[in-house]
Symmetry: C2
Subunit: 203 residues, 2 copies
DNA sequence: ATTTACAGACCAACTGGTCGGTCTTAAACG
DNA sequence: CGTTTAAGACCGACCAGTTGGTCTGTAAAT
């Protein structure tokens, strides 16, 4: 009874994650889930509604968890910690859902896609190396995993495209400075923070 | 002479940013840039190639800047600082290009799009509030702009979908812990870091 | 007997891309 | 210096394939 619906969602997640929303047709979904056009449109008004449901699943979850975190703790630091914990863990539970949501670039044909990815990897490697060298030289805390640290920088900065506005309240300098400060405060060793050469980088 | 090409790129950026790659047809582009199908395909092999060129523009730039940063400075902390600075500033220069690259969800029809956005905003507001309260209570450094701090958390965590793998090297717990540590080290005031209630949150 | 769950042939609209042709420009020529 | 010529820039009607969605029909469940 309506088991078909779940099969459809499952297949969609699989296909969307791999080929992106626009790279997958309703026919593909129907075929992969061994059903029919009729079945699909019996359960979903449109291809868009299916996508919406995928989104809604995990967003609803994240919200509930954040609510919980805030009402459980008193201190902001504890609240924030709990929010981050649950927020991150959502990716373990709903990675396919989320990937579909933020899907992009899968519309670049393999040839072009490769070219772009190569350059992006290069950039990532450069950041990793700087972090590793910083850890070797004792400037950066060696207790932090370099890869995760690197990805947190990439994420923090890349996300800017979502909210930055040229004529908005925050200037690009202020943003750059704040990011840099948070990261450096977070990864510099206590002694490095006292280094007169590095001190000016911090607020 | 070939001025048309620039008009096409400009129009594409405008349209893609607003409606996404798949929401814009070659005809739309041609119309908006007051040219023709013929003109378009004279300058671009395909719609994909146009997208590729948009991507390549800013990625090439970022790479060059990072290279420069690394060769200019010796100390990793200074290198990292310079990379972050230029990396962030790219968004000022190439926001449309980058938006197109990371475009998604614009394929959700307005109705559904609104529903999703509402929940996401709610989540964002919760984070902002926690940060502000932390600043008021003296746990968090008040010198950091709350919005930028909030967005840096959102970016850092949301980006996880791009690299996290369930069966990868890094467990979700390790990732959550690292993120939380970097952020808290970055935003807690020195005195709050000594608070015995908060100390266990840090590495 | 009526509603729900599903099937699959069918269609209308759209989309990327093609192709023959025209206009402009500037070098080559006489 | 005027004319020919060839290449590049640009045009727009046209096409073939594809896609989301519909519609009629059937089997099962209540």
């Amino acid at each position: 009874m309506a088991e078909l619906k779940e099969r459809i969602v499952e297949s969609s997640l699989y296909l969307f994650e791999q080929y992106g929303f626009h790279g997958v047709t309703v026919n593909d979904i129907v075929q992969h889930s061994r059903t029919s056009k009729g079945g699909f449109y019996h359960h979903f008004q449109s291809k868009d509604e299916l996508l919406f449901m995928i989104h809604d699943t995990f967003i609803t979850y994240v919200l509930a968890k954040a609510d919980e975190a805030i009402s459980t703790y008193e201190k902001p630091a504890l609240q924030l910690h709990a929010i981050i914990q649950s927020f991150v863990k959502v990716f373990d539970l709903y990675k396919p859902h989320i990937s579909v949501f933020y899907q992009e670039s899968n519309y670049l044909k393999p040839h072009f896609d490769q070219l772009i990815k190569r350059k992006r990897d290069q950039f990532k490697q450069m950041i990793f190396q700087v972090i590793q060298q910083g850890q070797s030289s004792g400037e950066f805390r060696a207790s932090l995993p370099a890869e995760i640290t690197g990805m947190s920088i990439l994420g923090m900065v890349n996300w800017t495209y979502k909210w930055y506005q040229k004529d908005g309240e925050k200037t690009i300098e202020e943003i750059a400075h704040t990011f840099s400060d948070i990261i450096l405060q977070g990864i510099l060793t206590p002694s490095a923070k006292e280094n007169p050469q590095l001190k000016p980088l911090l607020l």
